[in-house]
């Protein structure tokens, strides 16, 4: 983050002066979803359920946007073929 600003430099009413996408919420994550693309049937249920829009379809396969994925595990829970595994951050290479 840049240097903290004084109150005279801030916009009205406590609004955010930077975009919320500047704030990478991915570092809140303790468990990381790892996708097994071999098992994945591309049903897109994970894409539907992800509350942070962190599941992305890149045209060929499912990709997780780790900048914003908070590791909630909903995708792994909903996956009908168990193609997503929640792995502790420190165990992921």
């Amino acid at each position: 983050m840049s240097e903290l600003r004084g109150w005279r430099e801030l916009p009205l009413g406590g609004i955010a002066y930077r975009l919320s996408t500047d704030y990478k919420t991915g570092d809140w994550r303790a468990l990381k979803p790892v996708v097994d693309t071999e098992k994945c049937t591309k049903c897109m249920l994970c894409w539907i359920f992800c509350p942070d829009m962190a599941v992305i379809w890149d045209g060929e396969k499912i990709v997780i946007n780790y900048d914003y994925c908070k590791g909630c595990g909903i995708c792994a829970r909903e996956c009908p073929v168990k193609a997503i595994e929640m792995v502790p951050e420190h165990e992921v290479k």
């Binding site: 903290l4 600003r5 004084g6 109150w7 801030l10 916009p11 009205l12 009413g13 406590g14 609004i15 955010a16 002066y17 930077r18 975009l19 919320s20």
Partner: protein, 417 residues
């Protein structure tokens, strides 16, 4: 910028026989309000009842949102005002208490909402009549609080409130307080302006303030708009919350000047003014004894002052029209040289004093010549403040001024022992 709207002489103003609630409803009708959201509660009900008639008859363009509670009523106003609408609601007593947490949001998000508070005692025991503890309860919520004396002033102040709230140096919500039943349900002949003159006075529909954010070029309108998106109300922790509170501190500093300006513009337009808009002194200049008061009781105090003046007593009154922000410097200046001051409060902070007494004591602390100060708690739960009651404590104050000391700083008057 400083355009003058031609004066409207009294004979060109429509004479209307209405009660205080209806007067507020007429004022809102003329103020091009986009959204009204409210929940009925005595003695405020007539405001919204009357206004919903205007909506049903197609006399206003307003979106009327019926809600299930006052908490929701204020929440709708917050959403509407954040989207750029001119929003209004009204309530009393328990309803205002239920709005409480949203009041703080409205002021901190700098949303110029207008709220009519028809003052009523808080439960328990349950009571529907007037006192000011409901309004005093929102004292620290960051709202501007105006109190009116009569039905005409309720009409005038409601229109003024939109102009004050939306002033670019203010951008704060305004509560217009009128005494339950004494004003809300009492008929009075009042003069109202033609619709187009009110529209012109307010400069038409609400104009949005401008602000800047890093990710958009130049100034952008301060409202929810997909074309230039703003995040209104995000999380704000110890690194920025304090700075944002300074915005509210700063905004309050501009209010006195704006209220005075709007009061004098109103005078030029209608021929009516209320002191300087902030304080309304009556016979104070050479007075030895002065009483301060808020709301409709000011009318009774004024008549008692008139009577005592005829008897040669040097007494006066200061009507406090604005309670937040409190005009500490102005009142200290007015009370300079006065020997004894009686501060009337239709409310009390249990374990402390009446709420306006605390302000006036604070205001006088750094004065060189401090008057003697007595707090008179009166009229709780709608108990009548009769001329005799007021005359009695004026005489008590005259005695105190002669003796030179105060025995009891807080007196409860009109209550059985």
């Amino acid at each position: 910028m400083a355009q003058t709207i031609p004066h409207v002489p009294p004979e060109k103003q429509l004479l209307l026989n209405v009660n205080g609630d209806e007067a507020v409803a007429y004022a809102v009708k003329q103020s091009l309000v986009d959204v009204v959201s409210a929940y009925p509660i005595t003695p405020q009900t007539i405001i919204v009842e009357k206004f919903s008639e205007f909506v049903a008859n197609g006399e206003v363009h307003t979106e009327f949102v019926a809600v299930e509670s006052e908490h929701s009523a204020m929440s709708v106003c917050v959403g509407a005002a954040a989207a750029g609408a001119r929003a209004f609601t009204a309530t009393s007593s328990q309803g205002l208490a239920l709005m409480w947490e949203i009041l703080y949001i409205a002021s901190a998000l700098r949303l110029p909402i207008v709220l009519a508070v028809v003052n009523r005692a808080l439960s328990a025991p349950i009571n529907i009549h007037c006192d000011h503890n409901d309004a005093y309860g929102m004292r620290d919520s960051g709202w501007i609080q105006l109190f009116v004396e009569n039905v005409q002033e309720a009409y005038d102040t409601t229109i003024q409130a939109f102009k004050i709230a939306e002033d670019e140096n203010v951008l704060l919500p305004v509560a217009v307080n009128l005494d339950g039943f004494f004003l809300s349900h009492t008929l009075e002949n009042i003069r109202i302006l033609p619709d187009n003159v009110v529209h012109e006075f307010l400069g038409g529909h609400r104009k949005l303030a401008k602000t800047r954010v890093d990710y958009l070029d130049g100034e952008v309108p301060f409202a929810l708009n997909p074309a230039c998106p703003l995040s209104i109300g995000p999380l704000d922790l110890y690194d920025y919350y304090f700075e944002h509170k300074m915005h509210q501190v700063e905004a309050m500093k501009h209010v006195l000047q704006v209220v005075r300006k709007v009061n004098s513009e109103w005078y030029e337009l209608t021929g009516r003014k209320y002191g300087d808009g902030v304080l309304e002194p009556y016979e104070v200049e050479d007075a030895d004894v002065v009483v301060t008061v808020l709301g409709s009781t000011a009318g009774t105090v004024r008549s008692v002052v008139k009577k005592l003046r005829r008897e040669g007593k040097k007494v006066g009154m200061v009507k406090i029209r604005m309670f937040r922000p409190f005009p500490h410097k102005d009142i200290a200046e007015l009370l300079k040289g006065v020997k004894a001051v009686g501060v009337m409060d239709r409310g009390i902070s249990f374990g402390s004093y009446g709420q306006s007494y605390l302000e006036i004591a604070t205001a006088l602390y750094s004065s060189k010549e401090k008057p003697l100060l007595v707090n008179y708690i009166y009229g709780l739960g709608g108990r009548d403040a009769s001329p005799e009651l007021i005359e009695n404590f004026f005489k008590e104050l005259i005695g105190i001024a002669e003796k030179g000391y105060v025995e009891e700083e807080i007196r409860f008057i009109g209550v059985r022992g």
